[in-house]
């Protein structure tokens, strides 16, 4: 289905959806654009820049309460309370790369043996209304990892800016339901203009880098710690890259003891941290930042593709590059492994 929505009506759409859904949208504040829980009166900021943090929190929140334990004195048995996420969510104004991140999550959180109920609940109840990009940033490389600036995969609705509004195309049945709302009007012949804009954006990106063979090339460097020490020299071991990343799905589980009540929470974890692989014995198999960066790059461009039909666990949004305090460029690391000669 193809419809049209004006900029004003997109805000109205968010305001209407708030009544029945949790709406997440990019909002500017303090110089930064981040996804916020939208409330009427807020200004959705779709065009200043891509949001600093990816929209992954919609399906994989930074903190997920797994269960709550209530105690009432010594005699009574503690009560265990399930806390599966309730309700529906709509993400408005993410970029196609951000929406696509969850496609990397799916094969991990839904296997024949293991189904993660928290993730799946959110996944099934979240609609992504993405905005196609009209110009690539210096850090963008979606076209090198099997995607593009108007990639519909992972989105439910894809918007393309045309004049003072957006051509809206449904990608899934859930997206089609949204387009049936009265705020959307007939797109007329604006679809052609949208196609032209999307084609131009893709053309501006030029030819992508070919990551074919990268999994084997990275594996070949697995024991070459000199290579990884050189690549990781400037890494400061923070978690900016992983927390910004739409495809990083690792978590930590801790118990928060609150007197008589306690809570088991799942929070984002990051493989750049020493504690990520710290074992109970005190031994740490990834004791240095070189080991840890090797894992991050290797996981995305080698181990994950080997396990999941060659799919690279990266959507090319470039957040890890531009938000890295030291300016580490993951593209250069993979390239260095690909071009390595003994």
């Amino acid at each position: 289905m193809e419809r049209f929505i004006t900029k004003e009506n997109l805000t109205r759409l968010a305001e209407e959806l708030v009544a029945t859904c949790r709406v997440l949208a990019p909002v500017a504040g303090g110089g930064s654009v981040t996804f916020r829980r939208f409330q009427p009166g807020m200004t959705i900021d779709l065009h200043t820049r891509m949001a600093a943090v990816s929209p992954k929190a919609a399906t994989f929140p930074q903190t997920e309460t797994l269960l709550v334990v209530k105690r009432e004195g010594e005699e009574k048995k503690p009560e265990l309370i399930e806390t599966l996420p309730q309700g529906k969510s709509v993400v408005i104004g993410c970029r196609p790369c951000g929406a696509r991140g969850k496609l990397i999550f799916d094969p991990v959180y839904e296997t024949e043996k293991i189904k993660d109920p928290y993730y799946l609940q959110r996944r099934q109840n979240t609609v992504f209304i993405s905005l196609a990009c009209d110009r690539p940033e210096t850090t963008c490389f979606c076209h090198s990892v099997g995607s593009g600036p108007a990639d519909p995969d992972g989105s439910d609705v894809l918007l393309t800016l045309v004049g003072e509004g957006y051509v809206a195309r449904s990608v899934t049945p859930a997206g089609e339901e949204i387009l049936k709302l009265a705020l959307f009007t007939d797109a007329g012949d604006k679809g052609k203009e949208a196609d032209a804009k999307n084609a131009k954006a893709r053309e501006m990106m030029g030819e992508g880098h070919d990551y074919a063979g990268a999994p084997a090339k990275l594996l070949a460097r697995f024991d070459d710690m000199d290579f990884w020490q050189a690549q990781s020299a400037k890494c400061i071991s923070c978690g900016a890259c992983t927390y910004m990343c739409p495809t990083c799905y690792c978590f930590n589980i801790t118990d928060d003891d609150l007197g008589l009540n306690s809570r088991r929470i799942r929070t984002w974890d990051n493989c750049m941290s020493h504690t990520f692989t710290l074992e109970g014995s005190g031994h740490n198999p990834r004791s240095t930042k070189a080991h840890r960066l090797k894992n991050r790059v290797g996981h995305k461009f080698s181990y994950y593709p080997d396990l999941h039909k060659g799919v690279i666990a990266c959507c090319g949004c470039g957040r890890c590059i531009k938000q890295c305090p030291a300016g580490i460029d993951i593209r250069q690391i993979v390239k260095a492994a690909q071009e390595y000669s003994e």
């Binding site: 930074q62 210096t138 927390y243 300016g327 460029d329």
Partner: protein, 318 residues
């Protein structure tokens, strides 16, 4: 010879005895520099200095314990080296300091605000005279350094490295101490306003610890209490209160140690103005102990020593 040529000559003459020399090179686009670890003369060709060389490379020094390395420092960065030496976290014999006489560095945030389009669309950058011409998304914009320089440069009293083995460039006449308008404005707010500000601001924090790890003085790194599991000092929940609690831990551990290099604030991916906390804490330390971290060699940070009677702390008179 230019300052860069002088620097390259100086590094070349010492490179043989060093594990590496840490400097800067052009980064992933024309608007960004990135740290460079020079191990050979070929690497040296990539060295750059100037207003984009924002990173405080002293942050890397404690990672090279037991090895002899070189580091290129601006005036502000040199204060971090001084503080590391004063706290005996590095050995003077293990570090060769290539000091710069610095003309200031840019704030990427100010550049972003001043450009007609997002800096992600940068096409070219020309640096010269008192500013730079940046072309973004087909539009050229001329930015004056005075308008886009980092806050710390506006109030800098030590543009030239205060400790060095080699100092390159033309020495500056240091400016007198001054305060920042944004700091004064913030501190004039009421407690309720400040609370509201931090609640709103800390709701953006994602606890990635970029602020902590970019800090040259945050040397606990892998053993920070913020991520300790046993005991669990801080909840891993990312509520504004927990996030603020972590920042309070951070700023308290830097009392008398923070040299105001601004790396915490620069590293923050969601633009949290962390220096408001740092500068406030430093002012308290200065008022109580007459101490400024990194100001001179051979100082002992006030919280690393003990006096029975502190001159400015009234312990018994009330």
């Amino acid at each position: 010879m230019s300052q860069l040529d002088d620097l390259k000559t100086a590094i070349k003459s010492r490179l043989g005895e060093l594990e590496c020399v840490i400097g800067w090179e052009q980064g992933y686009d024309p608007l960004h520099a990135t740290p460079l670890f020079i191990r050979s003369e070929a690497d040296l060709d990539r060295l750059i200095i100037g207003p984009l060389a924002v990173h405080n490379l002293a942050t890397y020094l404690t990672g090279y314990k037991g090895k002899k390395v070189g580091v290129v420092v601006k005036g502000c960065d040199s204060k971090s080296v001084v503080q590391l030496l004063n706290e005996k976290l590095i050995n003077r014999d293990d570090v060769v300091i290539f000091g710069l006489c610095c003309d200031g560095v840019v704030s990427q945030r100010k550049i972003r605000a001043a450009l007609p389009a997002d800096p992600g669309f940068v096409e070219s950058v020309e640096i010269g005279g008192d500013g730079m011409t940046v072309t973004v998304a087909g539009q050229a914009a001329t930015l004056k350094f005075a308008d886009v320089q980092a806050d710390k440069c506006r109030i800098c009293t030590t543009p030239d490295a205060i400790v060095s083995d080699v100092l390159v460039g033309t020495a500056h006449t240091p400016a007198p101490a001054a305060s920042l308008a944004c700091q004064d404005e913030f501190e004039a707010k009421s407690d309720a306003e400040k609370l509201e500000f931090w609640q709103e601001t800390m709701s953006r924090c994602i606890r990635c610890y970029a602020c902590r790890n970019a800090c040259p003085m945050c040397v606990c790194r892998d053993y920070c209490i913020a991520t300790s599991r046993d005991p669990l000092w801080l909840s891993q929940d990312n509520t504004p209160a927990e996030n603020m609690m972590f920042q309070m831990v951070h700023v308290s551990h830097l009392a008398g140690r923070c040299t105001e290099c601004g790396e915490c604030e620069r590293a923050c991916p969601v633009d949290i103005p962390l220096m408001l906390l740092r500068r406030f804490m430093n002012k308290q330390v200065k008022d109580v102990f007459e101490h400024q971290a990194g100001a001179a060699l051979e100082q002992t940070p006030p919280l690393l020593t003990f006096k029975v009677e502190e001159e400015r702390i009234n312990e018994r008179g009330w």
